[in-house]
Subunit: 224 residues, 2 copies
C-alpha cells in the first residue's frame, strides 16, 4: 500500500461546487490589479466564512502562508489547474435550437478553455449555417465527426424524449462526459460517463420554494 497523495482524497461535490466561484472571484480581483488577499477579505467579498475558505482550499493542500494571505495570481492558477482549465476541452452541442445557439454565443467559455467546435441538428433549414463561426452539421454526421475530431464534452440541448437515446449514442461513440440540459436524469448504459445536469426547471422551482418560504416567514413575523 502506497501513501495516498492529498489529490487522491475523496472531495465532496459541495466543495467542488464552490471552486468555480473562487476561481471567478480571484479572476475579478486579478482584473482590478489585486495581488494579495487575506482569507478574511476574500470571505467578506464572497459572503462565506474565512474558515470555510481555508477548509475548502486545504482539501487541495492549502496555498496560503500564515499571516501573508493568498497570492491572488498563484491561487487563481492553481484553482484553474484543479478545475482542469489548464488544458483545452473540445465541446460539441447536440441540438442547435435557441439554447444551443445561446451556448455557442458565450465567448466566456472560450476564455475558460472550452472550445465549442461543432453543433448538430436535424433541421435542414439550419444545417450548413454557422453561429459565431461554429458550423451546424447534420446529426447524421455525428459518428463521422467524432471519429475524426477530439470531443471531450457533448452538450445535450434536445427535448427530453430524445435525450436518453442521443446520450447513449454519444456514449457508444466514445464520449466520456455529457453536459445535459434536457429535463431528465439520463439513464446511461455506461456508468463510467460523467454527467453534469443543468435542470432549468428545477432551478425555477427552488426559486419558487424560496419565495413561498420567505412570504410565510414574513407573515409569521407580522403575526408574532
Amino acid at each position: 500500500m502506497g501513501v495516498k497523495s492529498i489529490m487522491e482524497k475523496e472531495i465532496s461535490q459541495a466543495v467542488i461546487r464552490r471552486m468555480p466561484r473562487y476561481y471567478r472571484y480571484l479572476g475579478d480581483l486579478l482584473d482590478v490589479g489585486v495581488e494579495r488577499i487575506s482569507s478574511n477579505d476574500l470571505s467578506k467579498r464572497m459572503n462565506v466564512t474565512a474558515s470555510q475558505i481555508r477548509q475548502d482550499l486545504n482539501n487541495f493542500g492549502g496555498f496560503g502562508q500564515q499571516g501573508y494571505g493568498y497570492n491572488v495570481k498563484y491561487l487563481h492558477e492553481e484553482i484553474g489547474n484543479i478545475l482542469g482549465l489548464n488544458k483545452m476541452h473540445y465541446v460539441i452541442i447536440i441540438g442547435a435550437g435557441h439554447l444551443g445557439q445561446a451556448l455557442a454565443n458565450y465567448t466566456k467559455f472560450d476564455k475558460l478553455g472550452f472550445k465549442i467546435a461543432a453543433m448538430f441538428d436535424v433541421d435542414p433549414e439550419i444545417i450548413g449555417t454557422k453561429v459565431r463561426g461554429i458550423p451546424i452539421l447534420s446529426l447524421e454526421k455525428l459518428a463521422e465527426y467524432i471519429d475524426a475530431h477530439p470531443v471531450d464534452i457533448a452538450t445535450l440541448t434536445v427535448p427530453k424524449s430524445q435525450a436518453d437515446m442521443l446520450a447513449n449514442q454519444l456514449v457508444g461513440l466514445g464520449v466520456k462526459a455529457i453536459w445535459n440540459f434536457a429535463h431528465v436524469d439520463l439513464e446511461l448504459s455506461d456508468k463510467d460517463v460523467i454527467v453534469e445536469n443543468v435542470h432549468l426547471s428545477d432551478s425555477l422551482m427552488q426559486l419558487s420554494y424560496n419565495i413561498v418560504r420567505h412570504t410565510k416567514e414574513k407573515s409569521g413575523d407580522a403575526n408574532g
Copy 2:
C-alpha cells in the same frame, strides 16, 4: 410562545435542491399510470437511498403510510404545494438575446405555473416583436410595465457588466425574486430579495473538474 409548526423548521437548501427532482420523477410516474410506490422502488429509480427519501420527506411531515408506500398523485401534489407550484408566478425576462429567447420558448415553464409575460431589451431590431406570443418591450418601459402588471420573478439574461445595475433597478421597482444567468453574484442593496443563480460556466468547470479527477483515478487504477 406558540407551538412551532413543522413548516416553520429551517430546511437545508440541499433538501430543497432535491425536491424538484422528486416532483419530476413523481410526475413521470403519474404519466405512465403508477398510483402507488414504495420508498424502496422510488429510491431505485432515483438512485438515492430509501432512507434519504424518507428523511427528506419527513422534513415536511412525511406523506407515507408504513407498509403502503406513497400515493403518487397525492405526493406529487403535496410536493408541488411545498414548491409553490399551486399558484401562478408571473415572470419577466430582461435581455431578449439567444438565452432569453430560449427561456421564452420553454413550454415546460408554463406547465409548472411560471408564466413568462414579457421580455425587455435595448435592441431596436427586436423591440416590438414577439417570441411564442411573448412581447419584447423596450427596456425604457420596464418601470411602467412593473407598475401595471404583476411580476413575481425577473430573469436576468444580460452581460455581467450590466447585471448589478439592472438587478438593483428591478429591486427598486419592487421585484422580490431574481433568476440570475449573468456570470456574477449580484450585489443587491436589499438583502431581502431572493436570488437563484444559474452560473453556466461554473457548471462547465465542475464538469471539467470531474473529468480530470476521473482520468486521474483511472490512471491510478492502472498503476496500482
